[in-house]
Structure formats: structure tokens, C-alpha cells
């Protein structure tokens, strides 16, 4: 009986606090994204448009490890049974990617353009016994100053 209570408490905690935290995170992501929208970022190898003499170029990176909450993990486990879209994990990787790119941009506020953006996702602790539903996203690119 006690175990059931603990499980329910964890689920409730995951549902309410997790949802609140996710909303807050999305709000912060949206605000920062609109702030940094002027910084040209491309995934192509060559700079975009006509540019003057480049004075500096630097490898920049941003990374984040994000995990899902308890409730969503249960939800995803159920989903595994029926198949279909796992929405719970879709928001997880979406948040992680956008956060990583934001951190990359924030690490070089004076850059004029960011080229060759690459995003890599890995589940770092796969294989561990108590698997944590978390992903790591690394974004890296070349920042140009001119």
C-alpha cells in the first residue's frame, strides 16, 4: 500500500511540478529566441550574403542535458505498448535543442554571423542500470566577426 502511495506522489509531483517547469522553460526559450533573432545563423558552410573582411573566426558551442519528469516517463512507457507518437519525448528533445542553440548564441554575443551549425543528440547514460530518461544536445558552429 505504501508503495502505491509513493508511486502516486511521484506521479503527481512529476505531473504538476514538471508541467510548471516545462512551461517556464518554454517561456524563457521563446523570450531569448526573439532577443537573438537578429544574429544570422545558418547551417551552410559559407557565409550568407556579401560580407566585408573577416577579422576573427571561432568555434563556439552550447550544450545541455535535459531529463523528463516521472509522469511523462510513465506515459512514454505506456506509449511503448500501444505505439504511436511519443509526445512526452518530443517536447524533451525540442527543449534541449533550442536551449543548446540559445546557449551557443549567448556564448558569442559580438559575433556577426554563425555558420555551419551542427546539432548532435546523444543519450549519454544509455546502458546504465537505472536508466535516466535524459538526452544531451550539443550544438556547435563557427562564429564570424567582421
Amino acid at each position: 500500500m505504501l508503495e502505491l502511495y509513493i508511486l502516486l506522489a511521484l506521479l503527481a509531483l512529476g505531473f504538476f511540478v514538471g508541467q510548471y517547469l516545462e512551461k517556464q522553460h518554454y517561456r524563457s526559450i521563446n523570450a531569448r529566441e526573439s532577443e537573438l533573432v537578429d544574429l544570422v545563423t545558418t547551417s551552410s558552410k559559407h557565409p550568407f550574403g556579401d560580407i566585408p573582411v573577416i577579422i576573427d573566426r571561432r568555434l563556439v558551442q552550447g550544450s545541455v542535458v535535459v531529463s523528463v519528469d516521472y509522469f511523462k516517463r510513465m506515459l512514454a512507457a505506456l506509449r511503448n505498448f500501444f505505439g504511436g507518437n511519443v509526445r512526452a519525448y518530443e517536447t524533451l528533445v525540442d527543449r534541449a535543442r533550442r536551449e543548446a542553440v540559445l546557449r551557443l548564441k549567448e556564448s558569442c554575443p559580438d559575433a556577426k554571423q554563425i555558420i555551419n551549425l551542427r546539432i548532435e543528440t546523444s543519450s549519454i547514460f544509455k546502458g546504465a542500470k537505472d536508466q535516466i530518461g535524459s538526452v544531451e544536445v550539443l550544438a556547435y558552429a563557427t562564429a564570424l566577426y567582421y
Binding site: H25, I55, S67, S134
Partner: protein
């Protein structure tokens, strides 16, 4: 030292190529961080301990790659790639590689 992940150094000309250089590091998480991450895992969100751990590891691998490039007499590394893999349970390997070149 110039390091980029593009095939050339924008605004510079490559005059010599020294071959592939790489740096790697394998890191394991420690118990304290594990407990914190376990707690954080109930409500979800960023696992700051792990983020920092991986940033540290990446810095070290990056340093190693640059040291190797310097040893070859290069002054730049182009086409840098990152890769992360979990080699064993609870440990992850960070591998960074690129091409060492000399630019004008």
C-alpha cells in the same frame, strides 16, 4: 590557434596540411551527482551537474586535440567534429577530431 568546423578558415588561405588530429576523454559521473540527478529526474528539467561534467570533459578533449596540432606545427584546425558515445554503463566518451593545417 584558429579552430573552425568549416572546411576552410574564412578569410584565410590554407598553405599546408598536417593530417588528422584528435583528442578524447572518458568520464564517469560520480555518486553525488547521480543522487541529485535522480531527484531531479522526478520533476524533469535540466541536469546541471551532467551538463557541467560534459562541458569539462569536452574542454579537456579539445585541449588534447589542440596540443596535438601544435606538436605537428599547425596553427589552425579545420573541419572539427564532435562525437559522444557511452562506452560503458555510466561512462561516456567525448571524442573530438579535425584536420590540422597551416594558414597564412
Amino acid at each position: 590557434m584558429f579552430v573552425t568546423n568549416t572546411e576552410d578558415i574564412p578569410g584565410k588561405r590554407i598553405v599546408a596540411c598536417h593530417g588528422v588530429v584528435s583528442g578524447s576523454t572518458v568520464r564517469a559521473k560520480h555518486v553525488g551527482r547521480d543522487i541529485m540527478a535522480g531527484l531531479k529526474n522526478i520533476v524533469g528539467g535540466e541536469l546541471k551537474g551532467y551538463t557541467e561534467l560534459l562541458i569539462d570533459a569536452r574542454e579537456q578533449a579539445f585541449e588534447r586535440m589542440q596540443a596535438q596540432a601544435r606538436q605537428l606545427g599547425a596553427n589552425a584546425v579545420v573541419n572539427v567534429r564532435f562525437s559522444t558515445s557511452s562506452v560503458a554503463a555510466g561512462a561516456s566518451e567525448i571524442y573530438i577530431y579535425g584536420t590540422a593545417v597551416t594558414v597564412e
